[in-house]
Each structure stands twice: as structure tokens, then as C-alpha cells.
Symmetry: C2
Subunit: 143 residues, 2 copies
Amino acid sequence: MMARVARRQPEACRAWELLTRLFFAQRGQLPSLAGELDLSPVQCHVLHLMQPDQPIPMGRLAETLACDASNVTGLVDRLESRGLIVRRASADDRRVKVIVLTPTGARLRAELHQRLAAPPDPFQRLSEAEQRTLVRILERLLG
Amino acid sequence: MMARVARRQPEACRAWELLTRLFFAQRGQLPSLAGELDLSPVQCHVLHLMQPDQPIPMGRLAETLACDASNVTGLVDRLESRGLIVRRASADDRRVKVIVLTPTGARLRAELHQRLAAPPDPFQRLSEAEQRTLVRILERLLG
DNA sequence: TATTGTTATACTCTATAACTATA
DNA sequence: TATAGTTATAGAGTATAACAATA
């Protein structure tokens, strides 16, 4: 399967290789950005995912983070003890707990998004046409 | 500074936002890939960085991973105890220790690179022309 | 004196297994 | 019986501070 993709889409593989290099380079930058907000990388991930007024079941959080559910308990504990989110019982299924951003959490999330929004310096090497093309292709990739 | 970039390069910001979404989505996939090779995400990062026959000073590893030097000690301990790398004293400066891939480590690194090479399914939605364009732009971004 | 790597310590992240409450 | 979340436990990642060897 992988070999078939590699044979039939050599350019896709090259693109993916370059993106992987970007991912690993970025891995090192998230901890320092997180540190400035007194967050861990995973906590950033959670805040990045949460939309204001859009509760998320804890189980779905575990799926999205690709980690065990037991892990989410402590993660949510720490975010809740900092007043960034709150647990609420689900109305539909009393086993389920959902988490919601507090106003404080929403403000910190906005701050996080603002800091994440600044493109790294190398982007300035791209022409406007290249930037637009990149956006169009990434939108197809993520859409 | 950030505001200036945002005002002058709105498309760069949009492109970066989309890449950030890709990064966070990918964050969840690295642990499972790592698990298949009995590695942690950081250990994958180290192996991804190491070229065969190209020693890296431990201090430079700490810089690249953007973590404290004290952290690298345990990280290298665990990789060394698994026989994937070895420490060697530097000839130039006897304070410095460099790490080198063992043959076993080089094989595991090759396996890792092979698995990382498979592009996610959405890449098949792109035409060949789009793939080539994406490669060209990413090369400028990373070059 | 300054720097490289280590050690001691403490906290967070992570998984596994056993448990509780609900379905 | 099965599922959602918790707890207990253990190992790995991370930073800070103090330390040894070397520059």
C-alpha cells in the first residue's frame, strides 16, 4: 500500500518528506511557546482544539489526542485547577463528562492563537503568488 | 513585529494557520508510529536527526530539541542502553561527548524513515501538478 | 572563570490494569 | 455486559539547581 503510493506519487512523497522536516523542526518550538503561557505542549493542543461555547466529551478528547482516557483525567484536572476549563455532566448520558472553556480559558486560548498566528521568518522568502498557491493547495489537503 | 507580518503578509498567515492545523493533527500520529518501533516521540526525533557516521555533540542535540542539557543525559542513556547509539569523547574538547549511531540504530533509523515516508491519504486528492508545485514551494521554505 | 555533561529532585505526560457509576 | 471516567502504579520527558571535569 505504502509502496504503491510511493511508486505512483513520488512528488507526494517528496512533499510529505519536506513537511515532516517542518513538523520535527516545529516540535522544538512548541515547548518554548507553551512555556511562555505557563502551559505544556499537550495543554496547548487541548486549548487549540476547544472552541468557546462548544463542549467536548472527555472521551473525544482522548481520541483526538490519540492517548489513553486515563491520561485525560489528569490533564483535565490540571487545566481545571487553573480555572481554564470546567467539567460538566452530559445531559444525554450521565456517564459522560464534557469540558467547557471558562472566560479565563477563552482569553488564554485567544492569546495562544495569536502567538501561533505569526508565520516563521522563512515565509517572507515566498512571493505573494507563492503564498496564495500554498494556501490553495493546503486548503485542498485539509478540506 | 508579528502585527507587521500579519498586516503585510495575510496569505503567509493563512498558510501558516493551515500548517499549524496539520502539525497538531500530526502530533497525535507520531506517538503511535513511535510505539510500533518501541520508541518515544522524542527518541524518534533524535533518530530522525542522526545521520550515519555523523557524530553529534550532546549539547547540540539539546539545542536542536530545544530542551535542557540535563534532559539529554537520560534520553541518551536510554537510547544507549538499547544499543541504538553510543557516546564517544570528542577529540577536540574533552568536556564534550558526541553520540554516534550503531549499526542497529542505523537500521532502526532507516525503518523509521521508511514509515515516515508514506504520505497521508489526503495527498492523493492533489493533482500531480499541485504536488510538484507544493514541493517547489516547500523547498524554498526549507532551503 | 566559564562551559559540558551529570546527578538529585520534582512535576507532567503516558500507558496498563482494576474500579465505580451508568447504560 | 459494555462503556465513560477515575484511581493506582510505573516509566519516560522535562526543568532547575548543584556538582565534577575540563577549558
